[in-house]
Symmetry: C2
Subunit: 319 residues, 2 copies
């Protein structure tokens, strides 16, 4: 049975575009609509049938396990997953593991007992891998095992774009604040780009406590006290960047004149800050479309182990 | 069978405090813990049994229907509902009606087909009332019918506190921006307080389009162009207040020196803004605890039709 992925490939558009056409959502040219409808016809693709066939196999419930419901990144992920699931007649069971490995395992057991069609895992616990055998599971912005497909954004590219942008804006002394979510690749991209241009930089790592409480004020304050005058900050999330802006305001440092700030994620918060935040845009819609599609079209014989989607720079007033 | 409400009443504490003791979460004095444990013993209250008895009746699924998953208010509501549900061994089915009455009715039918233990409705459609007969349903921060219990915060008190605070900070020309969510009572509290002090004020109403897109920039800009110099703004949500701060920055108006801004909700965003936002704190944790408890202890013979919880002022740097 054809999948939404097949339709996207045939029509030469993204999965998001196909889902927009099916849902009649957002601006679409007549040409695009026609291409998608033609591909759907040629492949004999009927989204409701996909859901029905899934329903016969299992239930039409999908489990999603997130480490936090308060972090705006996960709000947007759940919003996008719900959107793409509902197109296929599927419903989401939302589980908040609260960064607790024990709770995560309990939720996995509960979801299996509820015979979900699959699980989308946004949490990290490697200890859960064993319990995931024989069940469609994907991880989103996480990678826990070669046997579990991972849908990722190009984090290394994101780190590179952030550093390149700060350098192009004339920054000479950069700092990256790494907030603890799996962002080693963001650090790698940032570091390599700074090294290649021989720019002075350093990377500070937030503690687990700071990450859990989403409170980085002490860490950011210490940066501005201890170091050479910093003129560019790359925060590994928009939530951290918001707090950098707050502390610059308090210390009387003008943004972007004296300090330039760039975030990561491009959640709604970014456009609501003063000044509005430049950031690296994660394709949350597409990540979620791929995650749902990987579950729906589950086929252990031809499963890709990693799908990496590109990110891009959104420039706003903070740089 | 005793409920968490009975334990709270007997111990003389709030439901949130009881749930914190059961979950060992947040700071609690030994004295409080002892009071709660004693009340649980005396009443022979066992949370797992509550869940089991519920499980025998229906499933352990609870449905929640929100109008948007992107508005930070609903992220915090879902987070709190999930927390209080999981204490009782219940799981949430999260449905995003996307401000669409048709979609809302479809979700209600789906939840009934899934035999949920009850539905928590954060949406507005009066047309859905008929389909809700014979099912435990509560509305949260909405009131759709006398036959459906509503859990509300004291919105009129919130409007009053916001106006009183701006007046006490010396404001002479106030404006309230009303964002469309059911906030008539916030307007009433604000208006009455301004009238009583004979202060110049007016109220502007956002359009449905502005509310749906969470984009109030045009409206806010027109306020600063059309009117007498405004020195105090009460926004009916923190999301609107964030955009007031942005536009003051752009127009070179200093906050709080020239313009004081206060929001409503006290979502996480409020403390992340620059300057951090003064706001009216909604007791989201308690609202959600009451909602879950009303479903779990459902008893048509002694149902309260309205539960109104107090709000309070949180002063930060924006006033």
């Amino acid at each position: 049975m054809p999948t939404i992925k097949d339709v996207a490939l045939k029509a030469g558009v993204t999965i998001t575009t196909v889902s927009r056409v099916m849902n009649n959502r957002g601006y679409l040219s007549e040409k695009t609509k026609e291409k998608v409808h033609q591909a759907m016809q040629e492949l004999d693709y009927h989204p409701s049938e996909v859901a029905r066939s899934l329903a016969q196999k299992q239930t039409t419930l999908l489990g999603v396990i997130v480490p936090s419901l308060l972090h705006p990144y996960y709000s947007e992920v759940i919003n996008a997953l719900e959107h793409h699931a509902s197109i296929l007649g599927l419903k989401l069971l939302v589980c908040n593991a609260q960064r607790n490995a024990q709770k995560e395992r309990e939720y996995i057991d509960m979801l299996k007992a509820n015979k979900v069609a699959g699980i989308i895992l946004c949490t990290q616990s490697h200890s859960s891998v064993r319990s995931l055998v024989n069940l469609p599971v994907v991880t989103l912005e996480r990678s826990i095992s070669p046997s579990v497909p991972a849908i990722l954004c190009d984090n290394e590219m994101g780190g590179h774009l952030a550093a390149k942008h700060l350098l192009s804006r004339g920054c000479k002394n950069l700092v990256m604040i790494n907030g603890g979510r799996s962002s080693e690749e963001r650090v790698r991209g940032f570091t390599r780009t700074c090294e290649e241009s021989s720019t002075f930089f350093h990377v500070v790592q937030a503690s687990k406590r700071q990450f859990n409480q989403l409170d980085y004020a002490d860490l950011i304050n210490s940066l501005f006290i201890e170091n050479h005058p910093i003129d560019g900050v790359f925060a590994s999330s928009d939530v951290i960047a918001a707090q950098v802006i707050q502390i610059c305001h308090k210390r009387g440092l003008r943004i972007p004149d004296e300090v330039k700030v760039i975030g990561f994620d491009d959640v709604d918060l970014a456009r609501l800050l003063s000044p509005a935040l430049s950031t690296i845009h994660q394709p949350i819609e597409e990540l979620c479309a791929w995650a749902i599609q990987t579950i729906v079209g589950w086929d252990t014989t031809k499963q890709q182990s990693r799908i990496v989607l590109p990110v891009n720079l959104i420039q706003r007033s903070s740089t």
